[in-house]
């Protein structure tokens, strides 16, 4: 927990240039990789455990480390394809997946081989092994102390991004009924309705729309915080992964970009719902709707 607090404090307290990447000296594993999926977003029916980087040529260690495990070919095919796991200082582990199997750095079968790697070394060429639709690299970070996957964007150097996240349609669900919320939406009261919103961060490096997860979603009811969803960690509890230790994918998502934001009680007074979404570069967007009771 201590490490994550340091990381978060670094992100929020210090300037945007002084990030955890400077603290730990980390680099992006694929220099020209385009982010095609981010941590916590709905990916193949569950949470993405890291980032997926499309394109690029070579995969390098994100930081100095030691090879723990190299899955080149086993007795079964792994959906992450050929992958390498590195151990870093501070109890972090990194995983590099979908590598080109013919080029993967395989540790020797000896007790005294050279197992340490540094960022200038190539782990493998970018490949498409495993469950991959093209040349890509799956990059994941595991915090041993937290026993969780950590969002790589908390640790890797910040990438320039001036595009604000998007809050699109806001839906009000009551039982099987669903209606799109306007600025002021009449609700037959009293009622408890579910709030669902189209939320995503737009990828910055592509000519077409790339749906990515934001860093944080905050929901306020009449100015009071009702829900905060941060895309920082994924922890397994009883055989399921929970975002921030709280939300399962099937609870949080109603589709690729439709996020369930909790319940709202509408009784006698109008309720102002404000949804604020931030990305990792500090770009933010807010949208408010008023749920007006009707009797």
């Amino acid at each position: 927990m201590r490490r994550l607090l340091i990381v978060l404090a670094t992100l929020f307290v210090a300037s945007s240039t002084f990030t955890a990447s400077l603290l730990y000296g980390w680099q992006w594993p694929v220099a020209d990789g385009m982010i095609s999926a981010t941590f916590g977003q709905l990916h193949h029916g569950g949470f993405s455990r890291g980032v997926v980087l499309g394109g690029g040529d070579a995969v390098h260690p994100a930081s100095d480390g030691e090879i723990v495990f190299s899955f080149d070919a086993g007795e079964f095919a792994h959906p992450l394809g050929s992958y390498i796991v590195l151990q870093h200082d501070g109890g972090f582990r990194t995983l590099y997946g979908n590598l080109d199997p013919a080029t993967v750095l395989v540790p020797p079968d000896t007790a005294t081989g050279e197992f340490t790697v540094e960022p200038s070394q190539r782990l493998a060429a970018v490949g498409s092994s495993g469950y991959a639709t093209g040349r890509q690299t799956t990059f994941e970070i595991i915090d041993d102390e937290l026993d969780a996957f950590v969002n790589p964007l908390l640790i890797l150097p910040e990438r320039a991004d001036r595009r604000t996240p998007v809050v699109g349609r806001i839906l009000i669900e009551r039982g099987s009924e669903q209606l799109e919320a306007g600025a002021v939406t009449p609700i037959v009261a009293p009622a408890t309705v579910a709030l669902v919103a189209e939320i995503y961060d737009a990828g910055a490096a592509t000519g077409y729309l790339q749906i990515l997860a934001p860093y944080e979603i905050v929901v306020e009811h009449d100015g009071a915080e009702a829900r905060r969803i941060t895309y920082e960690t994924l922890q397994a509890r009883g055989g399921s992964f929970l975002l921030g230790g709280r939300y399962a994918a099937e609870q949080l998502y109603r589709g690729e970009r439709m996020v369930h934001l909790g319940e709202v009680e509408v009784t006698t007074e109008p309720v102002t719902i404000t949804i604020t979404v931030r990305d990792f570069s500090g770009n933010a967007v807010s949208r408010s709707v008023v749920l007006r009771p009707e009797f």
Partner: protein, 420 residues
């Protein structure tokens, strides 16, 4: 005078020792490998042939006398990019090219592409049996099917009855899985962070262990005994350990632990063999194991990394296939090594299949050819009782009863064992 006598005696002893070394006497344990048949699994292959007998790498012609025993058994094989089924008499019942990967049992297979939303199950004759709408990589075990979901951490079990196919359970291990085995209704999973989880037939946890003792926790191999009463894992790096569990009313309880002299940092093979009396695992250039009833550990040094191993249950033998990594080589003998004996075997093969273009003639050097041996050990004494040099790019090893199937590139040789 006395000194000369002593020298003479010493010389005699040395000569005797050299003689015994060069021409060892039989111990009665030597195994002759009789070739039952040779099947070509290459595309457009000719029918199987029978004939050569190989012992300690020497081949001789002997007739196959299988009479009336055709295709009582069926064996699944995967050899390089080819897979399929062989009948008991060496008939290629079905053969095809692997798409991305293939998972097989004797009763069904799934040949799947790298990305798919559907799992299509086929019978051994290649006919489609059923299809399941699910994304991931299937793993077939007897009458069970696991699906490895694309996230690399989640495993689901699906019923494989086409009419009522449904997900039985789904479980996300806390990190990326690195090793999986199944026996009975138990699933054993290891992950890259040194976690070991055993699940029952409903996906409930029977065992949840997290290694904290090694410098680098990781699970590189797991194994379940045939009745799932024992579980084992090859775990951690520096030092690497073998942990053994026994199932009881509470789940699994650790019963043994062995610290190993070397560590593998890649997927390794580990199996319970010979009526689950032995636990055997891969080591760097060696096969190691423990006889569980006597807690006797052993290590069999090999000349190169283990390719695969199996037990010849009827004879209490361990068949170990090892081969070096190589980048080229002269493939004068296509199927079996470059020794005289191997050349004999290849010649017998050629004669019986009539495929003169495949072996014997000079060919261009083949990249990635690996050379090694198939060694047969008495499992109890660990004495090698048979050796066969091998050379190929792709290998396949399977043992069943008294038969060993050895696949080398595009042909599979079925050996039967004869003592003496």
């Amino acid at each position: 005078m006395k000194r000369r006598k002593r020298t003479t005696v010493l010389l005699a002893v040395v000569l005797l020792a050299i003689y015994l070394l060069l021409f060892p006497r039989g111990t009665g344990e030597e195994i002759q490998l009789q070739v039952r048949w040779i099947a070509s699994v290459a595309e457009g292959a000719s029918p199987p042939a029978t004939g050569a007998q190989v012992s300690e790498g020497r081949a001789s012609e002997t007739p196959e006398s299988e009479g009336g025993s055709r295709d009582r058994r069926r064996w699944a094989f995967r050899l390089g990019d080819r897979f399929g089924y062989l009948g008991d008499s060496g008939t290629v019942l079905f053969a095809s090219d692997v798409l991305h990967h293939v998972s097989m049992t004797d009763e069904r297979f799934v040949n799947y592409p790298d990305v798919s939303q559907t799992v299509v199950l086929h019978g051994p004759d290649g006919t489609m049996r059923s299809a399941i709408d699910a994304a991931g990589y299937p793993l077939l075990f007897e009458d069970r099917m696991l699906l490895l979901l694309p996230d690399g951490t989640t495993i689901a079990e699906w019923s494989i009855d086409g009419a009522t196919a449904h997900r039985v359970w789904q479980y996300s291990i806390a990190s990326v899985y690195s090793a999986i085995d199944v026996a009975g209704d138990v699933t054993l999973v290891g992950d890259i962070d040194g976690r070991l989880v055993a699940l029952d037939g409903a996906g409930g946890e029977l065992l949840h262990y997290r290694s904290r003792s090694g410098r680098l926790p990781v699970v590189v191999a797991v194994a379940l005994s045939s009745d799932a009463m024992m579980a084992a894992a090859l775990i951690d790096v520096e030092p690497q350990r073998v942990v053994v569990y026994r199932r009881d009313d509470e789940g699994y309880t650790q019963t043994a632990e062995y610290t190993l002299p070397a560590s593998l940092r890649r997927p390794a093979r580990m199996r319970f063999l010979l009526d689950d009396r032995f636990l055997v695992w891969e080591q760097p250039h060696a096969l190691a194991g423990v006889r569980l009833d006597t807690d006797t550990r052993f290590e069999l040094p090999l000349g190169a990394p283990v390719v695969d191993f199996a037990a010849v249950e009827d004879l209490g033998l361990l068949a170990v296939l090892y081969a070096s990594e190589a980048t080229g080589g002269d493939a004068a003998a296509d199927a079996i090594g470059d020794t005289d004996a191997a050349a004999d075997a290849a010649a017998a093969d050629t004669a019986s299949t009539g495929d003169a273009g495949d072996a014997g003639a000079a060919e261009l050097p083949r990249p990635n050819v690996r050379s090694g041996e198939l060694v047969l050990y008495n499992a109890v004494t660990r004495i090698p009782v048979g050796r066969l040099p091998v050379e190929a790019r792709h290998f396949f090893l399977h043992a069943d009863g008294d038969t060993v199937l050895l696949g080398l590139d595009d042909r599979i040789v079925a050996y039967r064992f004869i003592r003496g």
